[in-house]
């Protein structure tokens, strides 16, 4: 089944009710992502990209619509099943790194495997492998607070990779970094993609998004562009009418 997409979003709605007021964070979003793609989901704040990432990351469920991940319908799974899916299939990279400050680098990378119930030897093997991959083998015993921002982000990339997930979800991975380290991290992400991983990048930054092979631009909960990054409308929040013409 090579042709089956890894991620299927079909008519996904996420509606928040605030009293009588209704906020449509996602307003009928549909797209497919195949294995091995490098996709950037772009949009201004409030465009719905964070909601999109939460649902894609199985942290949240859509109000309506269909979400298939790796052939499984995860649209309305219960809390604990979603935790399992997150553990098996998704590697998160957060803007704020979200490392556990009381644990060492090694222990931080180990956490997803603890919940997966992987044995100690395999864990150590994999930890060494991914830390070497991100170039932090010498920092294995350090605490996150003893590392620079770029290094911390690389630890979180290692943590995302260690469970061998189907999708790497990177939420503004360069948002807290200066431009040089940011570029290094983006380079690392590209390499990881080139090694065969599916990477989904969520960002508001056009330059960062330009790294991806495919851009999905969201505005007010709707897709306004879905295509390669070199199109004239891909990187600009153009007038909606104009963009719709393109589509």
């Amino acid at each position: 089944m090579i042709d089956e997409p890894l991620i299927v979003f079909k008519d996904i709605y996420k509606i928040y009710k605030m009293g009588d007021f209704e906020v449509r964070a996602l307003d009928g979003v549909s797209f497919d992502i195949y294995k091995g793609e490098y996709v950037a989901i772009v949009g201004q704040s409030g465009s719905g990209k964070s909601t999109c990432m939460n649902i894609m990351g199985c942290l949240d469920s859509p109000t309506s619509g269909l979400y298939h991940l790796g052939g499984k319908d995860v649209s309305d799974m219960v809390d604990d099943r979603l935790a399992e899916i997150r553990n098996e299939m998704i590697g998160f990279i957060f803007q704020q790194y979200n490392l556990l400050s009381k644990l060492s680098v090694k222990e931080n990378v180990e956490v997803p495997m603890q919940y997966a119930g992987i044995d100690k030897n395999t864990r150590n093997e994999r930890i060494n492998k991914v830390l070497e991959r991100v170039g932090l083998s010498d920092k294995i015993k350090n605490r996150p607070t003893q590392l620079s921002g770029g290094q911390q982000q690389r630890v979180s990339i290692a943590r995302a990779l260690v469970g061998e997930p189907s999708v790497i979800l990177a939420d503004e991975p360069t948002g807290a970094l200066d431009s040089k380290t940011g570029r290094n991290v983006m380079e690392l992400l590209r390499e990881i993609h080139e090694e065969g991983n599916t990477v989904v990048l969520i960002t508001h930054d056009n330059e960062t998004a330009g790294e991806a092979n495919r851009i999905i631009r969201l505005e007010d909960g709707k897709i306004v562009y879905d295509g390669p990054p070199d199109h004239e409308h891909a990187l600009f929040a153009g007038l909606k009418e104009e963009v719709y013409e393109v589509l």
Partner: protein
């Protein structure tokens, strides 16, 4: 996540904030310590009572015959025969005839000396040891001999070394000392060393009475006390046909009563001490609640990495249980320390040998209770943690 790993993580987190952990444990430490001290004090008191009562003879029945409401009287020979016929139940019997009156050594009067008329078996029955001379003998009884055996208090305070053959005056009659008993108490006025034993025949004559009204009966062993007592009761009822005509009283009964009184006291005191365990438990609940709030972000991260509800729940419950378990262990140590300190203080102050011994069962119960408290009081905050929504938790600062 494996159970052992969770405990490891819990210990790591506790060590991460030592002062807080210690303060949280304090309630449990004090509670467990107090329960152990109180139960060991009760245990020590009970042992002390048992010891001092068994020196008085827990296997001796005291029979008092009032003869009230009955025309029948009890003959000593009759009773003696019954005792001898039932050697599986009884060892010895002796009349105990109280002699009222004055005792004089020369012109000096002994005011608190107790005089008892006994048979030749009484020393065996009471496990008395002679330091000099001999005890009352059968011929003394049959001959109404005017001989006496005296306690160490009298021998030490009123006579020189050469006591045997000296005389004393009881109600104006001269008695010859034939034996001296070993010290059993502290050789003070009025205690069990200030005594005179004489043949019960002579005692009856002195008291101007012809009826023996009380006996001491030694049963075969402590296990047969109840059976022996029952047998004696039937025997006496057959004679008197009236339950009010006699009374059988045993030291072991008194001991049982005292022991249960001590136990009730200990249970009440331990229950009061246990209140502090509950307070300690609330302290643990409080700190777990705080720690759940503080670590909301950690919970969010862990959930995003695949932690299920029970993983989070387990982490916090085990942390609470570990806190209280460590508190319990420290409390047990504290209890032991205070118990041995108490033993020292009591033996110094009271001149009595009461040793405070923590019982294994009280230690086990204290530990079990403290772990249970941790689990119970950790449960509610842990459940709150487990139910956190990962998105909200991740956003929490």
């Amino acid at each position: 996540m494996r159970f052992f790993e969770t405990i490891e993580l819990a210990i790591k987190n506790l060590l991460g904030s030592k002062v807080r952990s210690l303060l949280t444990m304090l309630g449990i430490i004090i509670g467990v310590g107090a329960v152990i001290i109180i139960t060991s004090l009760g245990n020590g008191m009970e042992n002390f009572m048992v010891d001092s009562f068994s020196s008085m003879g827990t296997n001796v029945l005291n029979v008092t015959v009032m003869g009230k409401g009955s025309t029948r009287t009890l003959d000593f020979d009759e009773l003696y025969e019954h005792i001898n016929e039932n050697q599986d139940l009884y060892n010895h019997i002796s009349p105990t005839v109280n002699v009222p009156g004055s005792v004089k050594v020369g012109t000096e009067t002994l005011e608190q000396t107790s005089m008892t008329g006994v048979s030749e078996d009484y020393n065996e029955l009471k496990s008395l040891v002679l330091s000099q001379g001999r005890y009352v003998q059968y011929v003394d009884v049959t001959n109404y001999s005017k001989v006496i055996v005296i306690g160490s208090y009298i021998a030490d305070n009123f006579f020189d070394d050469d006591v045997i053959g000296q005389t004393m005056k009881i109600n104006g009659q001269v008695f010859t000392i034939v034996g001296v008993l070993d010290e059993v108490a502290d050789s003070e006025k009025g205690d069990s060393d200030d005594i005179i034993h004489l043949p019960y025949s002579s005692a009856l004559k002195l008291a101007g009475s012809s009826v023996i009204s009380s006996y001491a009966v030694e049963v075969r062993s402590e296990e047969t006390v109840d059976a022996s007592k029952e047998d004696l009761r039937y025997f006496l009822y057959d004679i008197f046909k009236d339950e009010d005509a006699y009374m059988i009283f045993s030291m072991s009964e008194l001991l049982d009563t005292m022991t249960s009184m001590i136990n009730i006291m200990v249970v009440i005191l331990a229950a009061i001490a246990a209140i502090s365990l509950v307070v300690g438990g609330i302290g643990i609940m409080n700190i777990t609640l705080v720690s759940v709030t503080e670590r909301t972000r950690e919970i969010g991260i862990r959930k995003s990495l695949g932690a299920k509800r029970h993983n989070i729940m387990q982490q916090f419950v085990i942390e609470a249980a570990t806190t209280s378990a460590i508190g319990g262990i420290i409390g047990i140590g504290f209890g032991y320390l205070m118990s041995s300190l108490g033993t020292l203080v009591i033996s110094q102050m009271l001149d009595e040998d009461i040793s405070l011994l923590p019982t294994l069962s009280s230690v086990m119960i204290a530990f079990g209770v403290s772990v249970t408290i941790g689990i119970v009081f950790g449960y509610l905050p842990a459940r709150n943690a487990a139910r956190l929504n990962p998105i909200d938790a991740l956003r929490y600062d």
